[in-house]
């Protein structure tokens, strides 16, 4: 961005295009006993759309609010556009655009009035008309906030983030709670901002959103970054492009049950499907009958890895079209009956599951 190309500003800080738009080093923040952010280092390049992913309580909001200057870190530094919050707070607030996770604007104010108010805080920026246009709120311009839909409210929040024509945008869960159409609407908006060369940092629970919008993502869990890279790179670490999920059961009593010992069995390389009935009468013989020969499955060309959760077996697979018939055959050979079978392309969700053993939205 042009404004990044000042070589030395009055504060002697370097702000050339090579500088990271956001540079986070050794960031820590605890709330009482909860270590919300526990040692984070990140660099976000200018013009990049960077995603923070993670389950509830992972520390995404805390990280982003430290970046926004709203929360003071316990340790570590944050530099935005070559400036830090200690000396350049007023200047930084002029340069960044913010959408918080849970702002509610007053019901009785109109879209236009809210934007005019926010515009008045910025030395430079776009006009209220332009902001209304960018957020596609033309029809709702004179409507009160109380009468807006969830998606329109989110777009108003976006518009208040845009009125200052910011270099750098922080969007905390911009699409949470929206219906698919409203989400797509917001994605368009973010796409257009990306094309305009803005640096965007967004958090989300939605993997498809991150894959669609983000150039790079950091997956967070318990205050740590557990994976960092482009969505493609991360998905590649799962080992296959597709995920096959299946469960087996007897013909007469279909339906899988959960078992706590499944992962322990998995660790030993042999795995039994869970007991169909929870009562203690399930004899050792019955158990044996439902065992799966994992080695046979893993030997199938294209099958990369296996894990099991709640009686659902997951294989990551490349060459889906040749592997699937062989999986069927192998299970048939073992005399096992499939009670469930499905496949999907590997997603960031699978990356998370693989790294933590948990589902993103289980928390």
């Amino acid at each position: 961005m042009v404004r990044n190309r000042l070589d030395e500003d009055a504060f002697g800080t370097r702000t050339d295009a090579e500088t990271a738009a956001v540079r986070i080093r050794g960031l820590h923040k605890a709330f009482g006993d909860v270590r919300a952010v526990d040692g984070i280092d990140l660099d976000v390049k200018p013009g990049e759309c960077f995603g923070l992913l993670g389950p509830n309580g992972a520390g995404k909001t805390t990280t982003i609010e430290i970046c926004e200057g709203l929360t003071a870190p316990d340790a570590g530094t944050v530099e935005l556009l070559g400036r830090n919050w200690l000396g350049h707070g007023d200047e930084l607030r002029q340069l960044i655009g913010i959408q918080l996770q849970e702002t509610q604007f007053p019901d009785k104010i109109t879209v236009e009035e809210m934007l005019r108010l926010f515009r008045s805080f910025y030395r430079r920026g776009i006009t209220v008309d332009e902001a209304v246009g960018r957020a596609q709120l033309e029809e709702k311009r004179r409507a009160r906030v109380g009468g807006l839909s969830g998606g329109q409210k989110q777009r108003l929040a976006m518009a208040t983030a845009l009125v200052g024509d910011p270099e750098l945008l922080f969007l905390d869960e911009p699409t949470t709670g929206l219906d698919p159409q409203a989400r797509r609407h917001l994605w368009d908006l973010v796409e257009r901002l990306k094309q305009a060369g803005r640096t965007i940092i967004l958090t989300t629970h939605y993997m498809d959103e991150a894959e669609q919008l983000c150039d790079r993502v950091a997956i967070m869990d318990h205050g740590h970054v557990i994976a960092l890279g482009t969505p493609k790179e991360l998905i590649a670490t799962v080992g296959g492009e597709d995920i096959v999920e299946f469960a087996v059961g007897e013909k007469e009593t279909a339906g899988p049950h959960s078992t706590a010992s499944a992962s322990a069995d998995f660790a030993q390389g042999r795995l039994s499907t869970p007991p169909l009935a929870k009562d203690a009468s399930g004899s050792a013989q019955d158990e044996r009958a439902k065992e799966i020969d994992l080695q046979a499955l893993k030997a199938i060309p294209g099958v990369q890895s296996h894990r099991v959760e709640e009686a659902l077996h997951q294989l990551s697979v490349s060459e889906l079209h040749t592997a699937v018939p062989r999986i069927f055959a192998a299970l048939e050979e073992q005399g096992l009956h499939l009670s469930e079978f499905r496949t999907h392309s590997a997603t960031l969700e699978d990356v998370f599951v693989r790294m933590t053993g948990r589902n993103l939205r289980d928390e």
Binding site: G69, L70, D90, L100, T103, K108, E113, F118, T160
Partner: protein, 343 residues
């Protein structure tokens, strides 16, 4: 101050005003309620021809003697019925014949009953042949400015200034905090002092409307006098409003929920409603409480308004209440700005 600073302060203030005026309940409490109260009190305490006081007596002779005075309405009843009538407030006094003497039964803490005692005794003595040694005549005067309505209008004005400033600021700020709007605002380049200042400024605009409506009504309908300078009266109102706004800011500076701030505001305002002389003179409270009562901002505000309106006192002669108001403005405001919770 450049144009930009002014424009954001202006926008904040205008937004504040719009939000206030779009709240129907606020309109009721700020404008309609004090007028209703003034009307109600005006009717209840209007100057009437002196009341006819109901009394009872045990013999026809006494009833006849009492009925001779136009100020009394006498009914004959036996002692038991009379005791019941006294207890229920149907009569103020019972005259019991006791041979040649008479005994009055009444509640001496009730001013009307004391009046009834004096009139009844006079009527009975005159009927028995008493002659007054000094001839006395009456001429009745009804001076505006000494009626109850004249006393209570400044009280209502003070109460209204306090209530609208405290409720107006307290609820709006805590609501913005609870909805994370406050957090959103401070994440923007908005100067924080302007946010707080916008509350005070919008309050002053509302104040102008409120004061004109209430005092205009009192003037037109009740003929309440304005003996002091109107400019000085306006200054007193501005100072009082700033004071109560600062108190409102302080009360709202930390609270996270509407319930919490409501409780706090009631704790702060309740003693003033009772003791600061809105409806009756604070001199009725024990002497030991007086220094405390006089130091309350509402007492100071009402004293200053009464001084101006009823006695025509100049500001220069009301330094004590003005100094009290000023102190209640400066200290709470400074503390509020210091401890204010922005998120």
């Amino acid at each position: 101050m450049n144009r930009l600073v002014l424009s954001s302060l202006y926008q904040l203030t205008v937004t504040r005003l719009k939000l206030t005026l779009r709240e129907p309940e606020a309109i009721f409490w700020i404008f309609v309620f004090p007028i209703l109260l003034a009307v109600g009190l005006g009717i209840a305490f209007r100057n009437r021809p002196a009341d006819v006081l109901p009394v009872g007596a045990t013999t026809p002779q006494l009833v006849e003697a009492l009925a001779a005075d136009k100020g009394l309405h006498a009914t004959q009843m036996d002692e038991a019925a009379g005791a019941r009538a006294l207890a229920t407030g149907n009569i103020l006094l019972l005259a019991v014949a006791d041979g040649n003497a008479v005994e009055y039964r009444y509640d001496e803490t009730n001013p009307d009953a004391r009046t009834a005692r004096i009139i009844a005794d006079r009527a009975i003595q005159i009927a028995a042949g008493r002659r007054d040694p000094v001839a006395a005549g009456n001429r009745l005067v009804h001076e505006t400015g000494s009626r109850y309505i004249d006393f209570v209008v400044p009280g209502l004005l003070g109460m209204n200034l306090m209530g609208s400033a405290m409720w107006g600021l307290g609820f709006a700020i805590v609501d913005a905090r609870a909805k994370k709007l406050l957090k959103r605002m401070v994440a923007s380049p908005m100067p924080r002092w302007q946010y707080l200042a916008s509350y005070l400024l919008s309050r002053l605009v509302m104040l102008a409307i409120e004061v004109v409506v209430l005092l205009g009504f009192a003037r037109v309908v009740f003929g309440v006098p304005f003996r002091g300078s109107l400019v000085e009266l306006a200054l007193i109102c501005v100072l009082a409003s700033l004071t109560f706004s600062a108190l409102g800011l302080l009360v709202a500076s930390r609270a996270r929920t509407i319930e919490a701030v409501s409780g706090l505001m009631n704790v702060v305002m309740m003693p003033m409603w009772i003791m600061s002389g809105v409806f009756f003179s604070p001199s009725r409270f024990p002497a030991i409480l007086q220094p405390f009562i006089q130091a309350l901002p509402l007492t100071a505000a009402i004293n200053a308004v009464r001084g101006n309106m009823l006695q025509g006192t100049e500001l220069g002669h009301m330094m004590t209440p003005l100094a009290i108001l000023l102190a209640w403005f400066v200290v709470p405001f400074a503390v509020a700005v210091k401890v204010f919770r922005w998120r």
